[in-house]
Symmetry: C2
Subunit: 433 residues, 2 copies
Amino acid sequence: MDRKQKEVISWIKKSETEAVELLQRFIREPSTQMNEAGIQNLVASKLDSIGCTVDMWEPGGEELTNHKAFISPRGNFTGSPNVVGVKKGKGKGKSLVLNGHVDVVPEGDLKDWHTDPYSGEFRDGRIYGRGATDMKGGNVAMLLAMEALHECGVQLKGDLIFQSVIEEESGGAGTLAAILRGYTADAAIIPEPTNMKIFPKQQGSMWFRLFVKGKAAHGGTRYEGVSAIEKAQCVLNELRELEAVRNKRIKDPLYSQIPIPIPINVGVIEGGDWPSSVSDLVKIEGRCGISPDETVEEVQEEFCNHLNRLAEKDPWFMDYPVDIEWFGARWLPGAIPQDHPLLSILTKQYEHICQQPPKVEASPWGTDGGLLTNIGNTPSIVFGPGVTQMAHFSNEYIELSSVLDCAAIITLTIMDWCEQPKEDQSDEKTSAG
Amino acid sequence: MDRKQKEVISWIKKSETEAVELLQRFIREPSTQMNEAGIQNLVASKLDSIGCTVDMWEPGGEELTNHKAFISPRGNFTGSPNVVGVKKGKGKGKSLVLNGHVDVVPEGDLKDWHTDPYSGEFRDGRIYGRGATDMKGGNVAMLLAMEALHECGVQLKGDLIFQSVIEEESGGAGTLAAILRGYTADAAIIPEPTNMKIFPKQQGSMWFRLFVKGKAAHGGTRYEGVSAIEKAQCVLNELRELEAVRNKRIKDPLYSQIPIPIPINVGVIEGGDWPSSVSDLVKIEGRCGISPDETVEEVQEEFCNHLNRLAEKDPWFMDYPVDIEWFGARWLPGAIPQDHPLLSILTKQYEHICQQPPKVEASPWGTDGGLLTNIGNTPSIVFGPGVTQMAHFSNEYIELSSVLDCAAIITLTIMDWCEQPKEDQSDEKTSAG
């Protein structure tokens, strides 16, 4: 490392207490959906204090809500602002988006928590609370990196664009809004909880809802009806077969350690309303993984075709085909080439800090990286300090040491990437606002 | 037929209009659970007008609610009276219970009805409304029979006991209360909707509730969890296997026309609450048929043993066995011997009226006949005018002609049965109240 690199790393090491306090302040803002204004004010103020031009706005408008990639349970984001902070570079360097979401999933049953989920308790090197891992810890790592550069007086060539977005947990409307407002760059890092693995590819996913039909009858003469619950079993078997077919195609070595690269998960089943009746309707809801090599439309077509083939196995489905809806959330898959320069820079800087090579895999879940890569034309890598298994669970926590390590790696990556000369053939990407 | 027989049959034929009006008055009392007082007042008044001693009481007390055969979603029957009318005989003849329930199941979605379900519309020979078939039509047939005997001055040797009970749809607490109050006899007829088939045996049934466990995980890494929905499929398969085993044993020729004599019907399935999560709990509710040759306890033991064997097929069930509850409704099975004299009398009188032999089968559902036969020591036959397929459905109706035919058959049966000499060895059964 050169002198400047050593200086920023040293600054980060000394900022342990500040990092804990910032993360605690973030956790103490219970930023579930519709409640993001508090934390966004904190983020805006922090970005302002480290020399960024700050843009804070409530997403909305037809360009957003009519966009083909828009998906959200709501169409109005009043009171739920996005925040973007731009640190302009000197010019001619590559720009970088640092993207993190502030929305957290609900805390669930309080009885399952050993502490107040919004207390931000710091104990034994861990900070506890809803969002600690997913992904306020990652956001703090990025802010620490930017602050280190600011405090150490590092002048970058490329622009640095910090996106603090809403709605990731619901499909990414916040990031889509940031993209549509012009906040794109030559590449992006998203520190979702990867346990410090590097994910140049991310599985996408979308939700499906199926209605399986039957014919009602009294349970005592159940042979006079057709049980939608029995027919639902055929559908579940078909989904497992489809999952097998789809995963057999995946040859990407990044998936070699993953038992089912693109799972089809059935999460909800509901049918019938009376024990003595033959049920005539079953609802099935689930999540279908999308590989980075597929489009949403391709997957939907294969999914529908496969379920339509049920009619060949069972004539019931000829007359009563399964109703298929795509509803609720959807996350686009994302992928950058294996030889993308950001990947090699991030790998190199990881090795600098951690003294070992990183694990490079494909993520088993979607992130806003799909939107940035595909819609924002901003190749994205997901890499962050939290542990996936803690996300969405009670007693969520993050290790302080991993936040600091991640901050250091991101800092060095920024210093490397934003000094790379902007290629002539690339679009002249600049930040708006 | 002798002169007296011809006279009562002629009286019934002339009473068509009265039969329609009585059934309409019954249907216009929407006697769903908790709302039976209105119709019971009508029944009591009718019984009084045809020379019966009337007993009207609200069931209750520990003898009832602590009885091993008691089952009901409620323990308090205030406002829901039973009615019994007794027509004492001259003595030395066999007594007969005529049992009918006044409770009806809810009307369901009004949109599915072409008319007000409580209007009692009479059109094209049919009377429409909730309860027309199940079983106010049968009750009217019995009352018409008793009225015919009264109006024609027929003096019977044996006692006639009319039981107008609540709670049949919930497992028979009304009939159990009548039995415990002393209203039993040498035999009983229950005109549930058999489409004029004679059911000397009735399938019993009881409800079960199963909880199938899994292990939660994110759907994107579903292989880290265990899907309770997948495990529920194993349980459903096991239930079908159990149903096959149980039905293979049934050799009774009365079941020869019935595809599945004692079905296991799964009516409800509910599991999971999020499409992107692996569900960790599925609830299954259903109805298990009980053959007339089995006890409730035997069936429960076989059922539990069979599900416990899942652990041999899948070690998951070793650590997480299926929770089994018996809940809600239960109907005891019932059977009388093939050579029971009431069966031959009823068959003979059916042939008199219908000019063809009746269909004699085992019923695919339980009735209060199980309680009367097994707890009340009153051998019961189920035989009535309604059509099973209309019971519990929208646009329920009954054919007036079948009500009148049934009334005529029951009248002749009463005249025959209650003239049979009371056997010395039989218990001296008399009516209380």
